[in-house]
Amino acid sequence: MLIRRPDDIPSSEITPESIYQNRRQFMGTAGALALGSALSPTALEALSRTGRGAQDDKVTPEEDATTYNNFYEFGTGKEDPAENAKAFKSTPWTVTVEGLVKNPNKTWDLNDLLAKLTLYDRTYRMRCVEGWSMVIPWRGVQLRDVLNRLEPLPSAKFVQFTTLYDPRRMPGQKYPVLQWPYKEGLRLDEAMHPLTLLATGMYGKSQLPNQNGAPLRLVVPWKYGFKGIKSIVKIRFVDSLPYTTWSDAIPSEYGFYANVNPQVDHPRWSQAKERRIGEFLRRNTLMFNGYAEQVGSLYAGMDLRKNY
């Protein structure tokens, strides 16, 4: 049930690496060619086989992806972050590494942390737990490449991320809507999955807009959007399930895993369907947001109704 047939894979799957190995060739016109990721060979194949494909997963207009955000550090309204994050400065930026790693309590300059790692352009579906979705072309590094650089100890089983806490720069933190700073986490195997990105840019640009989590945010395309913690300043390796903000705030509604699952409803609303931003009719939500083939095995044998 979890595994979908290969010819069911919709368009905005990972873009084949070969395209991105050559990306410098077309970086100059990156804006226009961001579309290239949606029209990748895989997508075209899928389209020719099933009649679905690029049209089915059109990239969300950049304007929508940058003006409709959940980033409570800059206000709880969808339009608040774009407005309130204008003055936010994300350079210089440091990331502190803690816990079960070779060199704990080390603070990295962001540039050093990411230096020489391969940059990928990946167009992913993003499904918000609230019932809407987008298709966003991210740019970033694979989280696994960063974690490997940090050399976690064998005892590390989970990784926890922390957002910057600075109410002067993030005015939403003046209000106790959530317990600040925002924290999120992944099981280490989830974190090491090649689909998991640390994004540093989007829409063919090398920098993230502030409202989208500059300068560094997590992207886990098979999980609800709130797992994608923004403006990360801390990475901590631990041996047991870490504290995460939403699952602590309302444990009955938000779990640690938060995998996109149309069969497990939010207690207050259905998760079976979603509205793709820009579309009128709701579409069916896909198991693991359509990435079941890649990530389903991570959860083999787990009761996903309990581990929501």
Binding site: K78, A249, R268, S270, K273
Partner: protein, 205 residues
């Protein structure tokens, strides 16, 4: 006294009623224009759903404010505005429900029925609306005469249930930031509390 009343009535008819009509109806063309001009953000249906709901609750609470205001000021002419504001609330609640049914779910009855029966905040919203239907239908002067004052009043005390259901619907619709529902709910609670206290107060008259 009668001269005073008729002057008040004239003022109401000339100024207050048209102002209320404008307040009730003007948001509608503004919202429709915003929708057509793509000024409602990335998820216009969601926005429209929220805004129509806000207006419904505002007018519902405003209708609840009439009686206390009348008691405090002694302005008898206010009573006619109460039914008007109640109808305004019904108009916007109907708009809210229409956005939900047509734009949000596009007549997907299976999902709608599931939503109404499974999700308590939708059940509450639907309750708030359904209770307003008989009130809207009996809002005419003829109905008051037909039912008789006490029975009509009794029927129309359903509005208290409706406003409580409406406020809870708002509270539960929100993901985490409760500031707005708390403001609406607080005002509604204060207006309901006024009635309880007023009734409990020993009066000589």
């Amino acid at each position: 006294m009668s001269q005073e009343t008729s002057r008040a009535e004239r003022t109401v008819r000339r100024f207050i009623r048209p102002a209320l009509w404008a307040l009730v109806l003007l948001p509608a063309p503004v919202l429709i224009a915003q929708l057509l001009l793509d000024q409602l953000g990335a998820d216009p249906i969601d926005k429209l759903e929220r805004l129509t709901g806000h207006w419904a609750l505002r007018f519902l609470i405003a209708s609840l404010a009439v009686t206390p205001l009348m008691r405090v000021t002694g302005w008898g002419w206010l009573v006619a505005q109460r039914r008007f504001l109640g109808l305004a609330a019904f108009f916007w609640a109907f708009g809210h429900l229409s956005v939900y049914t047509v734009l949000d779910w596009f007549f997907d009855w299976q999902e709608i029925i599931k939503d109404v029966t499974k999700h308590l905040y939708i059940t509450l919203g639907m309750t708030a609306f359904v209770l307003m239907v008989p009130l809207a239908l009996t809002s005419t002067k003829a109905s008051i005469r037909k039912l008789g004052g006490p029975r009509w009043n009794k029927l129309h005390s359903l509005v208290y249930v409706s406003v409580i259901a409406g406020c809870l619907h708002f509270v539960w619709a929100v993901k985490k930031d409760l500031s707005e529902p708390i403001i609406y709910g607080g005002v509604a609670a204060a207006l309901l509390a006024f009635r309880v206290l007023w009734r409990a107060k020993p009066r000589t008259a």
